[in-house]
Symmetry: D2
Subunit: 227 residues, 4 copies
Amino acid sequence: MVPKLPIILINFKTYIQATGDKALALAKICEEVSKQYDVNITVAVQAIDLRRIARECDIPVFAQHVDAITPGSHTGHILPEALVQAGAKGTLINHAEKKIKLLYVMAVVRRMNELKLETCVCAANPQISGAVATLNPTYVAFELPELIGTGISISKAEPQKVEKSVELIMKNGPDVIPLCGAGVSKAEDVTAALNLGAKGVLLASAFTKAEDPKSVLTRMAEAALKA
Amino acid sequence: MVPKLPIILINFKTYIQATGDKALALAKICEEVSKQYDVNITVAVQAIDLRRIARECDIPVFAQHVDAITPGSHTGHILPEALVQAGAKGTLINHAEKKIKLLYVMAVVRRMNELKLETCVCAANPQISGAVATLNPTYVAFELPELIGTGISISKAEPQKVEKSVELIMKNGPDVIPLCGAGVSKAEDVTAALNLGAKGVLLASAFTKAEDPKSVLTRMAEAALKA
Amino acid sequence: MVPKLPIILINFKTYIQATGDKALALAKICEEVSKQYDVNITVAVQAIDLRRIARECDIPVFAQHVDAITPGSHTGHILPEALVQAGAKGTLINHAEKKIKLLYVMAVVRRMNELKLETCVCAANPQISGAVATLNPTYVAFELPELIGTGISISKAEPQKVEKSVELIMKNGPDVIPLCGAGVSKAEDVTAALNLGAKGVLLASAFTKAEDPKSVLTRMAEAALKA
Amino acid sequence: MVPKLPIILINFKTYIQATGDKALALAKICEEVSKQYDVNITVAVQAIDLRRIARECDIPVFAQHVDAITPGSHTGHILPEALVQAGAKGTLINHAEKKIKLLYVMAVVRRMNELKLETCVCAANPQISGAVATLNPTYVAFELPELIGTGISISKAEPQKVEKSVELIMKNGPDVIPLCGAGVSKAEDVTAALNLGAKGVLLASAFTKAEDPKSVLTRMAEAALKA
């Protein structure tokens, strides 16, 4: 089951603007724009908000992390089976703010595959993109940590790194979908990312903290359609 | 706001029998027994199931872990404010299956206090019970990790350790409520724990994996009432 | 065996000025000043430099970290027995730059006691000082992480926190020796710390990165003697 | 500078039989056999024993772990520059007993390259072998964790996994040297590993805990020569 591309993947993080009722409201905006433009807009939400958003919004919903565990005695962990039951479509993993050990990345990818869930592995530089692509996740999202949240788009600041990342992902994991993140804040950043070979973008604050999130997302969806 | 005592605190862990719809069904049983006997039965559920159970059951609901963060860029973490919005009453922390650094225990207790949430810090031996009691959480739950899940009750196997734990908790944190866990599987284990000075019990599989969980819990509630 | 007090405990960290041959040269200066003033000057050095310095210098030598392991399959860890064989007198543990889980602090203290080695547990605020003092290490060193390396002395910037820390250490662990660190850079900081109830100081860059380390240490030793 | 192949890489772990004076004695045996048969025998020793063994034995000496840090405030860490000064030739990294985050593997490989030190990245299954080979370390050592210390040789129990590992290493990192570990306990295990495409073996207890370590190693060196 191949995801619809290009994809706009939005990380709600633990922003207060993207928690609880506000998380639902933002997800509703994503649903609306997604339907209007027929563009894949996926939201990665906090575990606590996941079930509700997955039930009430007709867009794919991701977790932001999952543990490579099977059911049992794992107090305080995120169980892959719980994602399924809550209606999640997949998960982010290895984000710069929640890095995990290499063996864990592989174990998560395997468990997600067993459960027919998608995995987006984040990578902090092109070499890491290439390394994790060998593990065959659904997506690899390349984000330079130093640009996250800055509004300085990686596609502009470091286009050669985006190209290198896409190249290594395609070489090491031909079925893996390359995404581009870090500093994606305007429609033109979406265009630039797609022109450099990415099949989608990963963004966070540019949408969740925007004064007018719908307007920001609408322009990005238009750019995604055109590219 | 002092919690109603004694308390039966039930950890749902990531058992498949205590995930999703089954978690809700178990929590409903807890609610029913709690009302029938007027005993405080609190459930510590997976983050993904928390909001739903807190909304649909009239008993206190805890998380199994929370991160000592403030709102912001913390992908994949559990935000204290999200607990509040989801209707949680508190959280477990430092469980043997999710141990955290000492400074983090303190930071969690502080953040929970700010948000008027309760904290139950788990401790793996009497000395640790005494150490974390100095940080003034709501509860300290003493569980010998080697007895967790065995059905061998700590109150019977190591009564002097339970007494030592209660003693050190009361000495170092006079307002802290001492609980006793590990191997609590029968009504008589509840009685024994309360007789040794604990003000409640922490249990998991004896209820969540029971053939007849309602019957198990009913007998424990009766024992709690009598003690 | 009670350590000689007051103590000046110097953390060599992983400064290049305190690595390899330069570490030995600095330790030799400590030995010289220690003998001249009959003051306990203890150095906490990198594991790789420990054996050589312990063999060649007649002062107590600490490790900067040790693992709570017994001999066996623990690739890449620091074995307590290896400290003994190398001639170490003890170890720092739980430094702000190497924080460990609470249960580990206790396990390290126990293993060190078995081997007749000393333990200096670092604590990042007065409450943590009190919590770790319940575990009966040899020393608790209170260092506000935000002042480490600044040259702003904790005894001047936050004297009431030093007093609170000393008070909680003495209350919860009457045999524990309270030390004071963070920003100790001049003789007067040593005097201030001792006047606030500390029995010694923990310092790092003020000595290891000084233009004239011997002169800095000499003045501190004089201040320690007078206090 | 290409390492001499095949290589017998011996991990001393934290065995009491391979600590302190006994570590030196074992390393002396390695030196003797290495010279007699002109085979590369490299030892990975505890940080505390490293300098002494590197000074007193004329064989390559590895650390068992190193941190991806530069000189500075990193109490309790292993500084790459300290390895150089102590005479180390390289380091193991990411051993099953000391797993690290993916980004750290890359950072260690880079820092080691800057300092002209070798890196042997351990991998717990063929896919991980392939992933870490993209990062261009000197060696990738494939060890199934469940066979470590069992004496059941991976080359016999799971030859197809060894072949797959070698294949993925050569595909993703043509300059990387593939090693094979886990259960290597006899001369014939060395032969089998080399026949499956590995350029050397990684072993531990079969040598360090042997009644007659010299005899064990001599037979392995003969097998390495013949293969």
